[in-house]
């Protein structure tokens, strides 16, 4: 099976090489693709000097557009499984084989690395957990999928949803929306317990002040996404 690890990176010069070393140590059989989302620091130079396979986006698209570029790459080059893996040092590649195991066996379409199944490692602040619980309930209500860690950026999808996400992927804070998008299209979604760390350096993309905006935007997007008239089966159109 051809497996692609998509690593979105925006100004991650302090973390990206650690992330790649970590990947190489535990998942050397998977191809890595760093999506450099128009970083303004030395990320691009670092990637070029180290011969890392990467995309340079000429305009900053944010996490949604960046990750989607990775899915489009995976679609174009015929990958069977695509894994999303943060470039900021929060994720640990030693869980990647557990993560993709249900996809390889054909038992699931999407797997999500979850912090909240065994409650080990970095659990995020109480406020954030409360927010995540609300989104968890909302997604359960809207599409009947029971996913605990709805904001986890560590996830793997099979070929069917590589194509679906290549055609449509939420742009601003895409993680919960992507779950619902797949949920209403009948995806089998499974959570796999993982341990996450705190960021190694740099700042998270969601500051404390923006949490309220985050909750409102994502909740609204979930409801609107459920009401969306777009046809529910994913578009399989081939791109030129």
């Amino acid at each position: 099976m051809k497996i692609l690890v998509i690593i979105p990176a925006y100004n991650e010069e302090g973390n990206i090489l650690h992330t790649l070393e970590n990947l190489h140590a535990y998942a050397a059989d998977m191809d890595a693709l760093v999506v450099n989302d128009c970083s303004t620091d030395g990320t691009r130079k670092l990637l070029e000097e180290n011969g890392v396979n990467h995309l340079n986006l000429p305009v900053n698209l944010g996490i949604g557009g960046g990750v989607q570029a990775g899915y489009r790459y995976a679609k174009k080059y015929g990958y069977d499984i695509a894994v999303q893996f943060d470039g900021d040092g929060q994720h640990d590649a030693r869980y990647l084989h557990d993560l993709i195991a249900p996809l390889e066996k054909g038992e699931a379409d999407i797997t999500i690395g979850s912090r909240f199944l065994r409650h080990e490692g970095f659990q995020s602040s109480g406020m954030r957990r409360a927010g995540i619980r609300i989104l968890h309930r909302l997604i359960l209500l809207l599409c009947g999928k029971n996913v605990m860690d709805v904001t986890s950026g560590m996830r793997a999808v099979n070929r069917r949803f590589i194509c679906a996400y290549a055609a449509h992927y939420a742009q601003d804070y895409p993680e919960p929306e992507a779950i619902m998008y797949a949920g209403i299209r009948g995806a089998e979604i499974r959570e796999v317990p993982v341990v996450m760390k705190e960021r190694e350096s740099g700042k998270s993309s969601i500051g404390a002040m923006r949490s309220a905006y985050y909750m409102i935007k994502v909740s609204l997007a979930l409801v609107v996404g459920r009401l969306s008239l777009e046809k529910k089966e994913e578009s399989m159109e081939e791109d030129a």
């Binding site: 986006l57 000429p58 305009v59 557009g65 989607q68 570029a69 489009r72 174009k76």
Partner: protein, 128 residues
């Protein structure tokens, strides 16, 4: 009721508006598709300026006492329509920019791969 003076000024204003719109269209500074709403609202205004009686009847119909207030309501409504259509256009363009950016990123990646292969081929050739 609308005074004759006001009617003259409205006609002049609306004609100026339509003339500048057409001038912009002729110079290709506006896309016709995006100015249809402006043209349409301009024509409605022109109609009302020439036949203020229509405005009076419309005001009565929607229950507004002063015809001028009804005019404001119509204008604001037209403005809101145009703004919504602009937001929709911006959203579409954003989607297109995202797609183009992603494609460009993939092209650049492919180009680098090809350059690398070419470099390797050259070296192999020189080695022989």
């Amino acid at each position: 009721m609308i005074s004759l003076r006001m009617q003259v000024f409205s006609i002049v204003a609306v004609v100026l508006f339509l003339v500048s719109l057409v001038a912009l269209l002729r110079k290709n500074r506006l896309e016709l598709k995006y100015s249809l709403l402006w043209l349409l609202s301009g024509l409605v205004m022109l109609l009302l300026a020439f036949f203020p009686g229509l405005l009076d009847r419309f005001a009565q119909f929607i229950g507004v006492y002063s015809s001028v207030n009804a005019l404001f309501a119509v204008l604001i409504f037209c403005g809101v329509l145009v703004m919504i259509s602009l937001t929709s256009i911006v959203s579409k363009e954003k989607r297109e920019i995202v797609r183009l950016t992603q494609e460009m990123g993939m092209m650049e990646n492919r180009l680098r791969e090809l350059e690398k292969t070419l470099e390797e081929l050259k070296e192999a050739k020189e080695g022989v």
